[in-house]
Amino acid sequence: MSGLTRRQFLKRTLASGVAGGLVLSGGVRIAHAASATDVMGTLYDLTRCDGCIGQKVPLCVTVCREENKSRFPDPVPAEQIQYYWPNKKKEDWQGKKHLTNRLTPYNWTFVQKAQVEHNGKPLEVFIPRRCMHCDNPPCANLCPFGAQYKSPEGPVLINKDLCLGGAKCRDVCPWGIPARQAGVGLYMKIAPKFLGAGVMYKCDLCYDRVKKGLEPACVVSCPRKAIMFGSKKTLREVAYKRAEEIGGFVYGDKENGGTSTFYVSSVPFEKINAALKEQKSRQQDPAATGFPLMQAGVANFLDSANGMVAGMLAAPVAGALAAGYAAYKTMKEG
């Protein structure tokens, strides 16, 4: 299928049938149940993920790094990267490419481990983390340079040739997902000491593969079929069905106004979040990004602003009406 164009892919997925009743049994993949207009998504079944026990690095992480290594940052040597003037600071990860236990510009997914107590028993939950590919992504909407956008297929993409590394996307992301690498990108051609800070990197759901009709590398690699890929709409149904089966919970459907990534867990996400938070508080830098929490029901950054749109529409009307009245009055007087 690697030679497929996007159009062919969409046609075939449509032809393959909405196969709406595609059933998830024993980790059977959901892929290709999409229609031409469907947004693609993923579903993590946390009852299946065991963090690849016995492996040094979880397989989804390993294959992600292998698949994307040609797109990882290629900055100038560390000693040539300037501080972000006037501050004595720069975000340079090229000496820490090996890190697989957090998000970095060289590591776009990782697996968190949370120790929780549920139904009176201690439990270990493994949670693969990366960009959630939100329905209304604040990162893309609020990038001042339009360097990010949500593709029609669902993945949220960063234009590495346009990104200046301001990291606003990371600040407005509820999970602080994008990671910054200094010494690379457009800012190096302008005034690297004074303006810009690098390029932001994150998971793009293996967009090139998705366009060819393939599944993301992490999905293919998972030995326990804990990651499913397919039509977001179908996966949402599967997520809730699975949650009902296990008396569990769904994460990612309501959070940030909806995302293309669903998690199903038998443990409430409030407990998982509390465990992650506690873990983070014990880190050397508790405020460090790259270790996302799992806040249940977290709101979208744009909710307040979007609530003002009615006022935005009313303002020109009010202006026109007031002007009409004022003009009539002055003309009558004149």
Binding site: P144, K150, L162, S304, M312, P316, E333
Partner: protein, 231 residues
């Protein structure tokens, strides 16, 4: 209140309340838009503005975004008020005319090197040109601003290329507007332009100034008054 000669106080009524309202609403909202708009770029924390007393909030995108939206409402209200008010009154004195570029150069030449200015209407030729420049930028900023508001809504998903254009035009036009505002204020470096400042606060300018500099307008006002007297 319409424009008219006020001989008893040696003034000329140059602007009515509507013009003053639009001017100052635009001025205030534009200042706030520029500050909050630049605040949408990740620069206030980096360059230390947040370290200044009382400005710690300036790097909080959620605060500056709300401020930007409120100021944008005021801005749009003033823009629509301005357009509708002058369209209804068929009041187009400030629109550029043929020969304005040449006349504008002649006025600047006389300001800098001395000599007689060409007779001016209610607005100087450079004011009409400046208006066109600023109006074009206001139009570009408003259109791209509206698209930017739409893209933040969950129901809209624009293409990556459109977003680049919209963002870049919005930013570039805003920067040009800053330049336009600075040039507007720089006009008052020249003493000869200063009597106009009072006009933007009180609506009135000195009668002598009007006779001397805006003689075409003054003649029109005289004609209007004599017609009124005959009625």
């Amino acid at each position: 209140m319409g424009e008219k000669i006020l001989p008893e106080i040696n003034k000329v009524q140059r602007h009515g309340l509507s013009v003053l309202f639009v001017h100052w609403t635009m001025a205030l909202s534009t200042m706030v838009l520029i500050f909050s708009g630049f605040g949408q770029m990740p620069m206030y924390r980096r360059y230390g503005l947040t370290a200044l007393p009382g400005l710690g909030w300036s790097a909080d995108y959620s605060v500056t975004l709300i401020i930007h939206y409120i100021a944008a409402m005021l801005f749009l209200l003033a823009v629509f008020y301005h357009i509708v008010y002058h369209l209804i009154r068929k009041d187009f004195d400030i629109l550029p005319r043929r020969g304005d570029m040449k006349e504008s150069l002649a006025i600047m030449k006389s300001i800098i090197f001395g000599g007689k200015e060409p007779p001016c209407d209610k607005y100087l030729a450079e004011q009409r040109l400046a208006y066109a420049f600023i109006a074009f930028l206001v139009f570009a900023i408003s259109v791209t601003g509206v698209i930017k508001v739409m893209k933040n809504l969950p129901s809209f998903n624009f293409s990556g290329n459109l977003l680049i254009w919209v963002n870049d035009v919005h930013t570039l036009a805003s920067m040009l507007l800053v330049f336009g505002i600075l040039a507007h204020l720089a006009a008052f470096v020249f003493r000869v332009n200063r009597p106009l400042i009072a006009g933007m606060f009180t609506g009135k300018v000195d009668l002598d100034y009007c006779k001397h500099r805006h003689c075409k307008w003054y003649d029109r006002l005289l004609l209007k008054e004599s017609c009124k007297d005959r009625e």
